[in-house]
Every structure is written in structure tokens, then in C-alpha cells.
Symmetry: C2
Subunit: 377 residues, 2 copies
Amino acid sequence: MSSDNTFLQMFSTLSESGELRLELMEKPVPVPEDNQVLVRIEATPINPSDQGVMFGWSDVGAGRSSGDGADRTFTAPVSEQGMRAMKARVGQPLAVGNEGAGTVVATGNSELARSLAGKVVAVMGGSMYAQYRCVDASACLPLLDGHTARDGASCFVNPLTALSMIETMNMEGHTALIHTAAASNLGQMLVRICQADGVQLVNIVRKQEQADLLLKMGAKYVINSGSENFMAELTDAIEATGATLAFDATGGGMLASNILTCMEAAAARIPGAYSIYGSVKHKQVYLYGNLDTSATVLQRAYGMAWGVGGWLLPNFLAKAGPEVSARLRARVANELKTTFASHYTNEISLSEALDADTVRQYYAKHTGEKYLICPQK
Amino acid sequence: MSSDNTFLQMFSTLSESGELRLELMEKPVPVPEDNQVLVRIEATPINPSDQGVMFGWSDVGAGRSSGDGADRTFTAPVSEQGMRAMKARVGQPLAVGNEGAGTVVATGNSELARSLAGKVVAVMGGSMYAQYRCVDASACLPLLDGHTARDGASCFVNPLTALSMIETMNMEGHTALIHTAAASNLGQMLVRICQADGVQLVNIVRKQEQADLLLKMGAKYVINSGSENFMAELTDAIEATGATLAFDATGGGMLASNILTCMEAAAARIPGAYSIYGSVKHKQVYLYGNLDTSATVLQRAYGMAWGVGGWLLPNFLAKAGPEVSARLRARVANELKTTFASHYTNEISLSEALDADTVRQYYAKHTGEKYLICPQK
């Protein structure tokens, strides 16, 4: 435990007057209850899903920092539309940071809690952009010997999301998968999982260098959405794989609709399968990210057996149940340095994460770039 | 059986050159096989879902008729975009007419087939815009004594769709329902079913006279989408009923998105339920119609637990299974003159259904207007 009895934790608050404020607050270090452990957070990644809570609908480009060290704050203006969308959070300091890893420095008296003493563990529990976090012992995933907090910082969001895509595919009766923004950290994991599990995967990327990266990894189907023949190439890949499920990280625009159009075109190639109400096999696109915040536009020229919807890891895991969760977590721990290895382009302190220039860098969400916060820095 | 051995049947064909053609073709009267019956079709309604097959993406306003009687044809031009959407049907004469009713005039030798001899039956089997239709005996729903073919012509599409909306609600864990275009024939049935079954229903209409009609029927929640306070009124009704499922007949535009926005706003009124990822309860809008053929625009300011998708009666019944189908069909037969009574504003012959002025009248799909084809006329 730290020598003094307080620690720093990041909060995001939206004021009534239309200003979003990110700051570090000083909190008393808690004493773990029976089944709890106190984790000294040593590494916690900045995921797109974290940024949703940190910045919401604020105008990050117009944001600015003031103060230094523990006193630094970042503030950004919020439009009227943004205020409407975020009405429910006005005045509430929201703790941020979905996942992270660190060392158990104090425990409660339960057997499970005591068994974790001194261990390096990964945690997904929110409030992780902090120097300490007190959590239920059962929420901890102990890393294998020799694995560091940095290795395990991104144990949950990306690995469990990628694995849960395959689980969703199986649960909902699909047999192959389409993924957009496929060169992302998550997308690369998904390529490795699909290779290991023999699942056919169609990767959609936006740039040639992203396509090259995935092809070099051995990905079989890589389609560039910037290609003139995008729709025809995607239809061919869908016909070859039989994919009727897609996970789209962009959310906005025409991409989901275009994927459904190509799924329907591929189905229509099956001789005699034509029906005026479209193909009977259900075609689904899940929007699991929001890289494009514009409206989703659906042209609906793909019959009646289709769906588009939001997809969120905690909602999926709640539906799938604890046995599935445990199975997926065990796989992540075992393959942490291979299938689920994450790469960070920058390591920053809690205070540096509030610097306006740094914010704008990680907020841009460039493919392949990933920031890690090291709260002990 | 008719005195000669041929009959007239309507077909819709799209030519390579971009013309959609509706015509009557002469077909030989079939002899029923063992488990089949031959039905003399006496009444068959024109539903919006039939018009999808009849006219597709053609420009009905620019359509014209030529010829008379059995030789009358209706042709309409098709845009390039329309041709792309209908590519799979080029050159195929499509039989039209989803449902109808008439008298069994010949049967096969099976016990079930023979038991239907002389009976008035309703049939949902496609190819119903015809003077005769040979179908499997098990596809027939015998009407109660004293009920005519006119009474039973619309036994399936609207009644089963309305009942299946309630089934969907129960199967997918919702407890109340929203319906758009709620003053339609189908909408009025749904009001009566929900009253009988004690299901809370929020009706969305576009005009005050439609609202008045439903209120007079005893509907409790009727919202006019033309109202200045539409969103606030809908949110209040959702809060009062707990509706997290909607069936939208319009399909295009912002209505589905607006309904989801109001569902989320209603959920956010529950104290302490705020989460940055939105309410956890799944919110669903099914598009079962296409009154507005413009794109569906989703603003996505309603968290992650939402879905939008197509909904088609045959797909639903296939999923629900034969026991559910049989239960719903029995209810329709028993309540044919009450809950499921249909009203027709016009009765026309097969040939009149191809008259360009008549086509434009029923194609306009005015609320409350419904055409019945009487093929023996």
C-alpha cells in the first residue's frame, strides 16, 4: 500500500452549463472487506469504450487543459444536441477506466482473497483510472507467473469482445463472420482466434496498408472498403464463406447497410432461392463501436430477414452466463502473450492523460495506436 | 369445377428492358392429388404485402393499361435503381395473392381432403389471384358454418400478423407494445386483441381523425406523430406502459429511431438507472411494412441495448413452430366476425385489378381503404 492514505482517481463530470470536465480527485485508500482485495493499479489502457465515458458528446477539438500534475484538468464544451444526449449524467462525477492490471497489496480474510496476496491480477470493474482499486476477489483474473501488469492490462475488453463475437456467432446459428475496422488491435486478435478455431472471417479495412498487415498475418479474406469494387468483392467473400453475421466498429453511415446488401446479393446467387421477401436466412449486423458518430443509414433492399443492433460486451456476458465467462477468461490468461498480446504505442501518467494535446492524439483513434496509463508514474 | 378446363391467374413479370407487366394467364385446372383439394377462389384481398410482389420498385404513377377483360394488362416503367433491387426476379412470371377464401370443389382421396368437400375454406398459399387454386388439405382453414368466403378472405395476413406481434412480445420478454400506422385494418384488430388479452398498447397515428377512431374504440394510448409534443407524449406513454418493443409499418425515415430515443428517455427516468452505455433492457423495433420506402435513419443516441430489423409473418411462424400456428389459426376462425372482421371499400374482378386508375387507387394505401378481388366476377 502507498505510504500515505489517499490516492488519485480520474472522474468525468458534465456541468449543467454545458462543460465536460475531466480531473483527478483525491480519495481515501479503502480497507478490503472479507472477500475483497486492494489492487495497486500499474497499467490500464485507453479503449474507445473508455473514451465514450471520458468525453461523451463533447467537442474534444475545442478542449483545453489547465493546471499541472495532480491538479491538471481538461475541459471541453458540449453542444445543445450533446447536452440532450447526455442529460442523464449532468452533475454526476463518473469514474472512468474499464479494465487494468496491478498487484494485490492488501486482502480481506476470505480464503479466495488471501490466496491472491501479492499476485499480479487483471481486473474489469470500472474506476480503473486510479492508483488503487478495491474489488471483489472473484473479479480478479490472476496472471500466469512471469506475466506483468503491462501484459495483462488489456485482458478483458478486446480479448473477451473478440471471443464473444465467435460465441455470438455460434449461439445465433451463424457459421462465419465479417469484421470491420479489422486492422485494429481487436481485429488482429480476431484474426488469430479465427485461425486457431478454424472460423472463416471476412476482414473489412479502409486502407491498403491495413490490408497488407492482415494478409501478412495470413488472413484469407481482406476487403478494402475504399476499393472501387468493394461491393462486388465483399459479395464474393460472403458467398465463399457463407457469413451472415457482421460486427461493425464504425456504427454510422452506410457500412452496415452495404454489408446487408452484399449478404442478400450472395444469397440471391443460390439458384432458385429468389423470393420477393428476400432470402429466408437471418442476416445480422451488430454495431459494437461508434468510430463514425453520424446516423446509421439503412437502405433496406435486403428482404425482411435482417437485423441491426447495438452490441455490448457486459450485456452479452450477462446473457451468456457465468460458465461461458469463466471459459473465455481462462483462455485469455493462458494465451496472454500469444493470441491476446496487446501493443502500446505510448505509456502516460494519469496527469498526462488530461493534457489537451495528448487527449487529441489518443482521441483520434488511429488504427494501430494504443495508449496505456501507468497510474504509479 | 368450372365448365371448361382452364382458369385465369394473375402474374407479375419484370422484363430485362425495365418494364414491369401484370397480366392474366390461362392455366389448365389441375386435378387434386391424394392429400390436395381444389378451391374455387371467391374472395382474395389486396394487402400491402401483395403489392410488393405485384409492383415491386416500379413507377406505378407512370403505369398504363391496355386491352380489356381477360386480355387486360398493366405495365409500368422501372428505374435503374429499381432494376438493381429486383435483379433476381427478371424474366420470372411471379404468381401473386397471398391469401383468399372459396369453396372446395374437388378433392383427393385422403381422409382429410375428402372431409373438406363442399366446405368454405380460407387459404394462405400464394397464387391466390386466380379463379382456382389447388392446395394441400392441411393448408386450408375451414370456416365456421354460415361464414362466407368474403368473411374469410383476410383470415391470415392481418389476423395472424396481429396475433404474432403479441406472441413475439411474449417470446422475447417484453411486456407491452407500440404500433405505428395504428388506425389501419391491422391496427384496429391489434387494439381489439390487446383489449381482450389485457396487453398495454401504444398506438401511433398520423392524423387526428385516426386518433379519434382509435379512442372511440377504447384505445388508451394514442399518439399523433404530427403533434408538436410527439416525442414527449410518446415518452410518457412508454413510461406508463413499459413498452420496449415496437412494430413499425412505415419502415423508412426517422420513426423507428425516434421510438428508440423515447424508450431510452423513459428508461432514464428510473432513478439511479443511468449508465453511460444506456439502459440495459433490450429495446427492439421491428419493421414489418414499407409504407415509407426512403432509407431508415438511426441516430443511435439510445445506448447499446437496441435492435432494428425486418419482421415477416412466414419467418416468424416457421420459428414459432406448428403448435403456435395451429393455436393462432383456431382463434382466427372462432373470432372471424368479431375481433378479426375485415371491411372492404371496393370489390373488383381480376381484370379490374389491372385497370391503371383502379391500380393507382389501391396502390395509394389510404388508411381504412381495402380492396377485395372476387375472381369469379
